[in-house]
Structures are given as structure tokens and as C-alpha cells.
Amino acid sequence: MVQRLRVRYAKRGRLRFTSHRDISRAVERAVRRAGIPVAFSAGFSPHPKISYAGAAPTGVASEAEYLEIGVSRPCDPDRIRADLDVSLPPGLDVLEVIEARAGSLADRLEASVWQLRLPGADVAAAEQAVKEFEAADRVEVERLTKKGMRRFDARQAVRSMAVMDDRERTAGQEPGPPCVILRMVVRHETPAVRPDDVLMGLRLVAGFAPPSPPEVTRLAQGPLDATTGEPADPFDVERADGDL
């Protein structure tokens, strides 16, 4: 392996229903189709050196997914971006490729910005629920995991949360049916607190229950900036001046 390439890609539209395993198969095939000289691990059954950092759950769209490819020949990141993008099905879209610097990419992904569209939900009720959630110290929720039902706190990981009325955003048009947008910054912890865990928390503290399943999108992830309270671009390190 002579070079590591860091890739930011999006998972959009109906392709949000891909699971983490679906994506890794699709990427491996796209890499082969694109003729990218991926490096292979040594050993009995060699596998391509592609690693994934914190994939968004099945059903969740994302504008900020990350993976890293080890290649056996130096490659031009821009060309890889274009080649990989055409080789992936539309909906898995490669946004940026950059040559890796030292340090682990996964370690930089400290928090995510999530957006939840809640069609049919009531804005006032959402605002009230968020207020009560933020006022609480702990909000215990349950989720069925591979190891059975688990209870954990969903409150502490939530750094901030805001409610927006989706109707206000389409200026000049008839307001559509009510729709709430929740935007939240959530720290990556163990066990991971996912947007639906937070939604469950809102229901538990304030009885807030949107009428249909949320449409969730990860907007960004990266190292948590202490001053803004938002995740910064994890590629800032690569983009900084100076020799690689």
C-alpha cells in the first residue's frame, strides 16, 4: 500500500435503504469496475483494503459518509472521485476524495448533525418536547440490539437540538401539509445514540409522537468544535497547508 485515500460520499434517495454491508459490497465492485488499484491484505483469503467509518443506519440518508481506500499505486484523488462516482449506482454519490495524512479518520468523527423530517407533526408540540428533553438530566430509552433489549441514556449525547417548521421554508407558495424539521448535533458515544433513540426520548418525556416514520439525513460529521458546538470538517487536517 503506497497511499491512503479518504472518501466522503452521500447516500441519497431510495439508496438510503442500503445497509452497511450492502454499501461495502457496492463499493468493492465499483472499485473493481473503476479499475482502482486497491491494495489487498496478505494471507489466506486476501481482501481489499477499504475501511468504513461509522456508517449511517439502514433507512437513514447521509451527506457525510466516510471511507478510506488503500491503493498500491499513487493515484490522483480527483480522478478517483470521478471514476468511483460513475461506477457506483446513482444515489451513492462520491463527493470528495483526498489523500490521507497521519491519524485515524474514525477518531476524528466525534459528532454528527442529523436532520429529521417529520411529515404531519405539529410544530408547537415538537418545540415543547425539545424543551422538556433538554431540561432533563437523563432520558432512558430502550432499543432492541443484537444482544437483546438495551436501556441507555439518550440525553447526554445530544449537544443541541432545534425545531424548524418546514412550511416556512418554501417562500411564496401555498403552505403544504404540516411538517416539522428537527436538527440535532449528537456526539458519538457507546452505546451509539441514534436519531430514533432521541425521537423515542421525546416521546417518553413529552408524549411527542409524529404520525409517520421520520425521514432522517446525516448532514455532517466530524471533530466537535468547542466554540461553535458543531462538527468541523474532518478533512481540515488534510486541507491544511504544509507538506504531506
Binding site: 431510495r14 435503504f17 457496492a26 465492485r29 473493481r32 483469503s45 433507512g59 416514520p213
Partner: protein, 640 residues
């Protein structure tokens, strides 16, 4: 009339179901054509879950061929799991195609590929969800023609009520011909409605329209005769045979799913047909004669398919792949070409006698040396003569010994239980064979680290085979023999731990037997099972023997026939069989003679290498054996 996408309505249901990705389409190399620009519209269905159906070659080939026709389009649909079925029912979302999520009922043809009878209940679910009446006679001009193909369509009688038509044999040319008939008929303004269309299809002689035939019965339940009930309908319908596989190099652009499927590789059929003459094998009997694809076409297809798909494994598919006249050159050529690219090669079915170690070495050169599979099928020498699987014990031991000494550690052996004339001792012979295999393996390697797995399934007599007259073994006997075999294997101190044992109980085989050799009266049982919730009968977690037996009892009560009558009853020579009017080219007298030879342990050779023994196929169908060698070699690819 344009047709709207159902996707927005489906999308709202997807967060609530398991593995939603299987319903969204968008596979690489899939095709969405403009609805209004096409005249003939096919929905192709594989009646099982997406993960099984998507890789199916038959559907992929027809999909590509039909979409290449200018005025024709094809989309795909699969069986939906019960979780989505329930939501679709409550929300009123009909059966949809995965390509553009169009309602199946809006298409002209619903072509269903049956490689096994266990998909019949799933057909009913799809029809019902689509809003298509289950009974063909209740359909109107707004419903598609429901057309069956695939191996099980060689006896479509059990589902005759639900089908408008069926096609026997290779689908490439007949699918095009059917499209042409529909295009012309539509061009004339669809005169006479669906009955005239069906009539036009039937009169070609290559499409079976069940409702144009009446079945008459004897009082004792046997069939008296099957006759056309209107003029212009042929009394026999023939199978289709594609004669030059090099001219039909499909799939060119394999579908690459996002969801995980049972077959994650690019498969190329290297030949069709098989004349080894194994008497239990319906596939071998109905796909005669052998037609090879040439080494150069295989090479070109592999190259293009890998480039189009990004798959990292190539499967060389056929009924007995090591029998290709240039298999050595194919394997070596491909292994050379893809050396160092992490591309694996695999061969699904190997016969012990066709196996050679150089070949196996080529196949594992760029990949793993995981396991080898052989199918002696019968446990004793006598049994193997009955089924015409000409493998001697010495052959088998020699072959596996070589494999073990060349570094393979795991050998899988496939067998059947419940074969005609079988006795307990024939099945127990499997234990002896397995022990000898391990013993030889330990001697050859000087190590105890050799394993063998015995995998055994129940035998089901199939139409168009010499065993079509045979009595199927009852499930009590099968289960008892399987238990005794297990005890013989497990109880062995010296070898027991080195031998794995996988078996299925005998009950599902009885249902399969009912469906395989059933006639139109079985249709009511299928419907009753389906109404009672029967789905996904190929999946043990969904299959219920009791449900089938209860339904059969109810349907058959008071009549002349029952499940035993269809399964464990031996037929006599001149009994009219439900599929006798459907012609696979096989001479009935030859089949009967072969059945008689079977019970007297007489074997038959392979007509590829020995003189023709008059099975009847080639003269009836106007076909001939097409085999190499061509003497050509695969050239290395130039690396860019």
C-alpha cells in the same frame, strides 16, 4: 394511458420491513424504458424472495433480450416477504415491479419462471396482490397473460387453472416470438380480446394454453385423455431448443444487486443439456441434446461480464460443467488471464468421473482451496446402477484421495434417499463409503485433519424421466433410513467426528412429489394451502407439511384420488400421465425401456461419446449434439 410509479406509496412502508433494499430496484445494469414508447410490456417474475430470484439466469437473460427489442420492454418482480405483504394489503399497494415500480396488472404479460414447484403458492400471492383474478377464466382484457416457463413448466398441470399459458424449454427465441404475436395483435386493435390472442399463441404449436384442453378421467381417478376443446389447437405442444449458444451470449450485462443475494458472482452457462442420462434428473432429460458454448465466446462473456459488473467471482455453469470438451483450456485460460487480480473461478457441479485434479488446481489457483463437492447420489454400487450414475467406489476413493493429497481438506458428498428399489442397506452403504473416504484421506495425507460432509435429500420422481412411473418412497421410510444412517455415522468412534451429516426430513419431498407429478385436480389443493396462509414453501421456516396435508384431505375427500395416489403409487406403462401431451422430445417407449433397465440394474452410456441410443429428442426436435473441441485458446488480456 401512462402508468404511475407506486414508489412514493411503497416508500412509506419500507421503514417498517426487513431488508427494504430488496424492493427499491436501481440495480446496476437494470433498465427502465419509457412506458408509452413500448407496445409489448413484460413483467418477469421469479416467484421467490429477491435474494434468490435476482441472480436467476433465466430471468436475467429474458429481461435483457426483451429490453433489446425496440418496441418491447421488460421489468422484474419478485415475491414479497409476509411483512411487506401485510402492509401492502392494509395500504392497498399492489404487486409492483422493482425497476420502475409499476403495477404488475398494467403489463401485457406476466412471465413467471419456475425452476421449482415450491414457488406455486408465491404465484398466487403475487396474482392476488396485483389484483389479477386467480382463475385464468375470470380474467378480462385488462389483465396480463400469465405465462409460465422454466423447468417446472414441463408439467404445469397443477397450476393450469391459474395460468393462461406455459412455455417449455429455452426461452430466448419463444419470448421474442410471443412479443411479435402480441405486437401484431395490438397493432390490429386487439381483435377478439385475450381469447384471440391466446388462440394465436396456441396455434404456433409452441405455447401451451391449458384452458384450450379438456382433461377426462376414468372413474378410478386415472386420466382418460387430454384433448383440445377447439379447432386450431395442436394436440401436442413441443419444447423449444436454442441451437447455437454462441449466437445468444446472454447475460451480457449482469444485474448487480445492492442487496445481498444467494449468488454473488457472474455466471456463464458453458453448455446446455446433459446426456449423462442419470435417471432421476429431470433437468438432464428435458434439456437434451448437449450444446456447448465455444471457449472463445465463454472468454468474451467473462471479460465483458466482469467489466460490467465488478464481480470478483466467475461461475462456469451447466448441468455437469467438467464435461465441457475444452474445460481444461477454459479453466487454464481464465486462471491465466485473471492471475493476480483476486478473481475467483467456480464450477457448480462436478461429477466424480469427469473430475481431474489439474482442473481443480486451475479453479483454486486464484482463490481459496475450500471444499470440493461430488454427487455420487446413490450409496451402493447397485443403487448407482439403478439411477445410472456410473461411479464406482474405486473411482470415488481415488478422486478424493488425490484431492486430499493436493491440499483440500474438506469434501462434500451428495446423496439421495428413497430411490426406486432402494433398501436400508443401500443407504447404510453411505456410511461405509464416507468412512472409507476419511480412511483414504488420512492415509494419503498422514494427517487426521481431513473432513467429509454427507448431504442427503429425499428423491422425488419427476415428469419426463424414466422414473416418472415410479412409486415415491413414503416419508416414514425415508426418515427411518436417514436416522439409521445418522446413527451409523455418529456412532463410529474412529471416523464419526470427521464426518458431517446434513439431511432434510422426508415430508417436504412428499409435497414436492404431489406438485411434480400432479394433475389439474391438485390446483385446488394449492389454492387451499395458499388461502390458509401458505407462502414460501421452499423455506423450511415457512413450509408446513400439516397445512398441505389438511388442505389435500379436504379437497380430495370423497374422491378417487389422494396424496398417496399421486406420490407413492407406481404407474403402469400405459396410464395417461398428466404431461403426456407436452413434448420434451423424449420417446415414451425409450423412457419406459430405460425404467425397465433401471430396475434390472442395466446402465446406459452417454450419447456424446457413444452411438445414439434413440432417446428420440434429436429427430423429434430437429436438433443435434453440438460439442467441441474447437482447438482455440484464450488470449491474455492486454492490461491498460
Amino acid at each position: 394511458m401512462s402508468v404511475e410509479s407506486l414508489f412514493p406509496r411503497l416508500e412509506a412502508l419500507l421503514p417498517k420491513v426487513q431488508k427494504p433494499i430488496q424492493y427499491v430496484g436501481g440495480e446496476l445494469n437494470s433498465t427502465v424504458k419509457d412506458w408509452d414508447e413500448a407496445t409489448v410490456r413484460w413483467a418477469l417474475m421469479y416467484p421467490d424472495a429477491y435474494e434468490v430470484g435476482l441472480p436467476n439466469q433465466g430471468v436475467q437473460i429474458l429481461y435483457e433480450i426483451l429490453n433489446e427489442l425496440p418496441e418491447t420492454m421488460a421489468e422484474r418482480t419478485y415475491a414479497v416477504w409476509p411483512d411487506l405483504e401485510a402492509l401492502m394489503r392494509s395500504e392497498g399497494v399492489p404487486q409492483f415491479t422493482v425497476d420502475a415500480h409499476r403495477p404488475v396488472r398494467a403489463f401485457d404479460v406476466l412471465g413467471v419462471s419456475f425452476s421449482t414447484e415450491l414457488g406455486y403458492t408465491n404465484l398466487l400471492t403475487a396474482l392476488d396482490l396485483a389484483g389479477i383474478p386467480l382463475d385464468a377464466v375470470d380474467r378480462t382484457d385488462d389483465d396480463p397473460i400469465v405465462l409460465a416457463g422454466g423447468h417446472a413448466a414441463f408439467n404445469p398441470e397443477p397450476i393450469a387453472d391459474f395460468l393462461d399459458a406455459a412455455v417449455l424449454g429455452d426461452g430466448e427465441q419463444i419470448a421474442i416470438a410471443i412479443s411479435e404475436v402480441i405486437r401484431e395483435w395490438k397493432g390490429e386493435g386487439a381483435p377478439g380480446g385475450r381469447d384471440e390472442l391466446l388462440m394465436r399463441l396456441a396455434s404456433t404449436g409452441g405455447v401451451y394454453v391449458p384452458k384450450f384442453y379438456d382433461v377426462e378421467y376414468h372413474p378410478d381417478g386415472r386420466i382418460k385423455r387430454v384433448v383440445p376443446n377447439r379447432s386450431g389447437v395442436p394436440s401436442r405442444v413441443f419444447k423449444h431448443t436454442v441451437m447455437d449458444l454462441d449466437e445468444w451470449p446472454y447475460p451480457k450485462k449482469p444485474l448487480v444487486p445492492l442487496a445481498e443475494t444467494v449468488h454473488e458472482r457472474f455466471s456463464v452457462e458453458i453448455f446446455r443439456g446433459c446426456t449423462r442420462g442419470c435417471r432421476f434428473c429431470q433437468a438432464g432429460m428435458i434439456t437434451r441434446p448437449v450444446r456447448e458454448r465455444s471457449i472463445t465466446t465463454i472468454g468474451d462473456m467473462v471479460e465483458a461480464g466482469l467489466k460490467e459488473s465488478g464481480f470478483s467471482e466467475v461461475g462456469l455453469l451447466s448441468l455437469s460443467s467438467a464435461d465441457h470438451s475444452e474445460i481444461g483450456e477454459v479453466a487454464k485460460g481464465l486462471a491465466d488471464r485473471y492471475e493476480g487480480t483476486q478473481t475467483g473461478l467456480s464450477l457448480p457441479s462436478t461429477r466424480v468421473d469427469a473430475f481431474n485434479i489439474d482442473l481443480a488446481n486451475e479453479f483454486s489457483r486464484n482463490g481459496r482451496r475450500s471444499g470440493l463437492t461430488f454427487a455420487p447420489e446413490g450409496g451402493s454400487e447397485r443403487m448407482r446402477k439403478v439411477i445410472n450414475k456410473m461411479v464406482t467406489e474405486e473411482d470415488l476413493i481415488r478422486t478424493v484421495t488425490t484431492a486430499y493429497s493436493q491440499g483440500w481438506r474438506q469434501v462434500k458428498l451428495y446423496f439421495m434417499c428413497g430411490l426406486p428399489t432402494e433398501e436400508d442397506i443401500d443407504v447404510l452403504g453411505i456410511a461405509d463409503l464416507a468412512k472409507k473416504v476419511i480412511k483414504a484421506g488420512r492415509e494419503a495425507t498422514g494427517s487426521r485433519d481431513v473432513r467429509c460432509t454427507v448431504s442427503i435429500g429425499g428423491f422425488v420422481p419427476k415428469p419426463h424421466t424414466p422414473f416418472q412411473w415410479a412409486a415415491q418412497c413414503d416419508h416414514e421410510t425415508v426418515d427411518r433410513r436417514l436416522r439409521e444412517l445418522r446413527n451409523a455415522l455418529r456412532g463410529d468412534k474412529e471416523y464419526g467426528k470427521a464426518i458431517g451429516y446434513r439431511y432434510h426430513d422426508g415430508k417436504p419431498s412428499i409435497v414436492e412429489g404431489l406438485l411434480s407429478r400432479g394433475d389439474r385436480r391438485v390446483g385446488s389443493v394449492i389454492r387451499a394451502v395458499w388461502e390458509d396462509g401458505g407462502r414460501f414453501d421452499g423455506w423450511s421456516e415457512h413450509f408446513s407439511y400439516e397445512r398441505w396435508m389438511t388442505a389435500a384431505e379436504r379437497v380430495f375427500s370423497g374422491g378417487a384420488v389422494d396424496v398417496d395416489w399421486y406420490t407413492t403409487r407406481e404407474r403402469e406403462e400405459h396410464e395417461v400421465l398428466p404431461w403426456d401431451h407436452l413434448d420434451a422430445g423424449l420417446d415414451r417407449e425409450w423412457l419406459w425401456q430405460d425404467w425397465q433397465d433401471a430396475v434390472s440394474d442395466v446402465e446406459v452410456e452417454d450419447c456424446r461419446w457413444t452411438p445414439c441410443y434413440d432417446c428420440g429428442v434429436c429427430p423429434t426436435m430437429g436438433t443435434e449434439i453440438q460439442i467441441g473441441p474447437t482447438g482455440k485458446k484464450l488470449l491474455p488480456l492486454t492490461v491498460v
